[in-house]
């Protein structure tokens, strides 16, 4: 059990830090939260800078243009980027973390050559067409239908929670190609060009009032058979293969960010007046903050445990589910604690009353999604109970 970094890892960190120090001051101002074309430009411009500096596809194999970094280097990359305030992966998320790795694992040489270099360069943005109105936690029950017609699949149906759909060039699409087979055996993975006729993309307004997600309606959309990844009806396995790319780094930037927010919260609590003293004079509040800080420290240690395990075995082991469950709930508690300190100043999504509280309020709303997205906490507990503890399934 060693938490110290090797000289090579420290050198990697040092070089990255120097580069971030040079490049970040040259970035333009961040675009407005709901200006998606501007956000696409901003995020893809950042991706081009990463590409030029050799940091694009940090964890992708070098054979496919990535950096081939170790899980620990990936951890350092995300940690340093967050500490330096670098832009997030943003609209490049699906391409870099999901569709790209899927093509690496399951695509044809032609599909890889066509899509991987532009994803790395920030020239191609992807979205994800998995969830449907009737297929959330039970994703495999999806019903968007694809019928073979000559050299095309003809797709009809309705996707939901398609992130960045309004600005994406391509979509990783799961469709039902065999309605009679068991639900996991009749799904196919397709590459969809977002300018294909018959698509109707309708932005979905979330509780934030913004539209990072869309609904996508399919009306006889023709997708060439050559855009299929993997075999017909083998799409569920293809999707699961992608998940195995996770190396324990999924929450690194957010845990680093949460530690900073805990410190910010203390600063605000020392400044805010309550009952004639500072809010920080309240022992109950201090204990709750101390408790939460302990939890984020432990989540950071757990991240290092998972990354170490991924380095040794290729997968992060049990820490992935533990992290997802505890991080998402801790993050929500952090925002509630922020609201407790801010009191009425927490009623504004931008800073008011001379307090840096807008961030807490915004994230208080946003973090509602954390225990739902990518597997609800309830589904995560089923996974822990059944796959890790070996408890019997309900049915």
């Amino acid at each position: 059990m060693d938490l110290r970094y090797s000289p090579e890892e420290e050198r990697f960190r040092h070089e990255l830090r120097e580069w971030l120090g040079q490049v970040l001051p040259t970035l333009p101002a961040k675009p407005a939260a709901d200006d998606w074309p501007a956000r696409r430009s901003y995020d893809t411009a950042w991706q081009r800078l990463l590409h030029e500096a050799g940091y694009a596809g940090i964890n992708w194999p070098t054979d496919y243009g990535g950096r081939g970094a170790t899980p620990t280097e990936h951890l350092i990359f995300l940690e340093e980027s967050e500490r330096a305030g670098a832009p997030y992966v943003g609209v490049n998320f699906v391409g870099l973390l999901h569709a790209g790795p899927t093509l690496i694992a399951e695509g044809t040489d032609e599909q890889r050559a066509r899509h991987l270099p532009p994803i790395l360069r920030g020239d191609e943005v992807w979205c994800q067409g998995f969830s449907e109105p009737g297929a959330g936690s039970d994703l495999a029950s999806l019903r968007t239908r694809a019928v073979r017609d000559g050299e095309d699949y003809v797709v009809t149906g309705h996707k939901l929670w398609t992130s960045y759909a309004t600005v994406a060039d391509y979509c990783e699409l799961l469709v039902r190609t065999d309605a009679d087979a068991p639900k996991h055996k009749g799904i196919t993975w397709l590459i969809l060009a977002m300018d294909t006729p018959g698509l109707d993309v309708r932005p979905l307004k979330t509780v934030l009032g913004s539209s990072e997600f869309s609904e996508v309606y399919f009306d006889d959309v023709r997708i060439p058979v050559g855009n299929r990844v993997g075999e017909e009806n083998d799409g569920w396995r293809v999707t699961m293969v992608t998940l195995s790319f996770e190396r324990g780094t999924a929450w690194v930037d957010q845990i680093v960010d949460s530690a900073r927010l805990v410190d910010d919260l203390v600063t605000i609590a020392k400044k805010v007046t309550r009952h004639g003293g500072a809010a920080w004079d309240d022992r109950g509040l201090r204990r709750d903050v101390g408790h939460l800080a302990a939890e984020f420290d432990a989540l950071w240690a757990l991240t290092k445990r998972g990354v170490s395990e991924a380095s040794a075995t290729g997968v992060p082991g049990v820490s992935a589910s533990v992290l997802k469950l505890r991080y998402t709930e801790a993050r929500q508690r952090l925002m509630d604690l922020g609201a407790r300190v801010l009191d009425r100043a927490g009623l504004s999504r931008t800073d008011i009353g001379g307090l840096a509280g807008g961030e807490f309020t915004e994230e208080r709303i946003n973090s509602l999604s954390y225990t739902i997205a990518a597997g609800t906490s309830q589904i995560q507990r089923n996974i822990v109970g059944e796959r890790i503890l070996g408890l019997p399934r309900e049915r």
């Binding site: 059990m1 022992r283 201090r286 432990a298 240690a301 290092k304 089923n382 822990v384």
Partner: protein, 312 residues
């Protein structure tokens, strides 16, 4: 950076586990609890001898290992619910005494566990640690944990100062981390007991562990334990590294998360066992009672939460 236990560390841990599985199975707890006289209940001379010979208390002094290894071993001692003044004896390994217990003078009333079997008492004051012998007091008639006999001491005994300042702080922190490791061991065993029961106990024609209400209790037990475990490991590794910063913060975090894991898992394990969980026969209560005892040792979760907050 490689935060996984090494092969040697895992082997050490496995060795202690197999010794304890053979010498101190959970089925023995009820018998040990019933042993007379009550003042020495919980202390198993033969087991203590075996642990001493294995080097459990002398990991640092004789085997040149660190607190990281000690934490892994103490997890096993907790998992087996081994009674006795484990932490005090470990912290006193270099002093040539046998069993050594602990008295925290800031916590009232003044209670010492296992005083009748201890050669000496480590007195933890606000700023120093002292060494006392010949401490006497009144036996608590009905202690919460039948395997942790308690003596109430009327006054803080005198004693010889053995650590002050940073050394005393460090000793207290080591005590907190080792106690936290015991709690992680208890939390681990409680999860195992609950999961095993949930797999075999049937109601409404199926194992109760298939019901999500029960499954999720078990999942939370596991998650809580793993989070506390890495917190304890991180604290131990930090304390072992003289160049590392943040040992106090890590130690406080470890103790509070481990207390929470052990105590909450104790309640959940009773709940999963249903009516049987309220019987003396099912050993779950011994683990919960021990967790309640440890939760008062080397700082409560509340103390550590506040200490940690003041370090922010």
């Amino acid at each position: 950076m490689d935060f996984l236990p090494t092969a040697d560390q895992l082997e050490l841990q496995r060795g202690v586990r197999s010794l304890l599985d053979a010498r101190f199975p959970l089925e023995r707890l009820a018998a040990v609890a019933a042993a007379e006289p009550r003042q020495t209940a919980g202390y198993d001379e033969t087991l203590w001898q075996a642990l001493t010979e294995t080097g459990v208390f002398a990991l640092r002094t004789d085997l040149e290992l660190g607190l990281a290894e000690a934490a892994l071993v103490f997890e096993e001692l907790g998992r087996a619910v081994v009674p006795g003044p484990l932490v005090g004896t470990f912290l006193s390994a270099s002093r040539g005494a046998g069993a050594v217990t602990v008295l925290e003078t800031q916590a009232l009333p003044l209670l010492v566990a296992h005083l009748d079997v201890a050669d000496a008492v480590l007195l933890f004051d606000e700023s120093e640690v002292r060494w006392a012998t010949g401490v006497v007091g009144e036996t608590v008639a009905s202690p919460l944990d039948p395997l942790t006999p308690l003596t109430e001491v009327a006054e803080v005994p005198a004693g010889r100062v053995i650590a002050t300042g940073g050394a005393a702080t460090r000793m207290r922190l080591e005590g907190a981390v080792l106690t936290a490791a015991l709690q992680v061991g208890l939390a681990t065993r409680l999860t195992e007991l609950a999961v095993d029961y949930a797999k075999t106990r049937e109601q409404f024609g199926r194992p109760i562990g298939s019901f999500q209400a029960v499954k999720h209790l078990c999942a939370d037990m596991f998650v809580r334990t793993e989070l506390a475990r890495v917190a304890v490991h991180a604290a131990a590794v930090t304390l072992d590294d003289p160049t590392a910063e943040g040992a106090e913060r890590a130690g406080s975090g470890a103790k509070l998360l481990a207390d929470e894991a052990a105590v909450t898992n104790g309640r959940s394990a009773v709940q999963v066992h249903g009516g049987m969980g309220f019987t003396w026969e099912v050993p779950v209560h011994f683990l919960l009672k021990r967790a309640w005892v440890h939760a008062t040792e080397f700082g409560t979760a509340d103390d550590h939460a506040e200490d940690l907050a003041l370090l922010l």
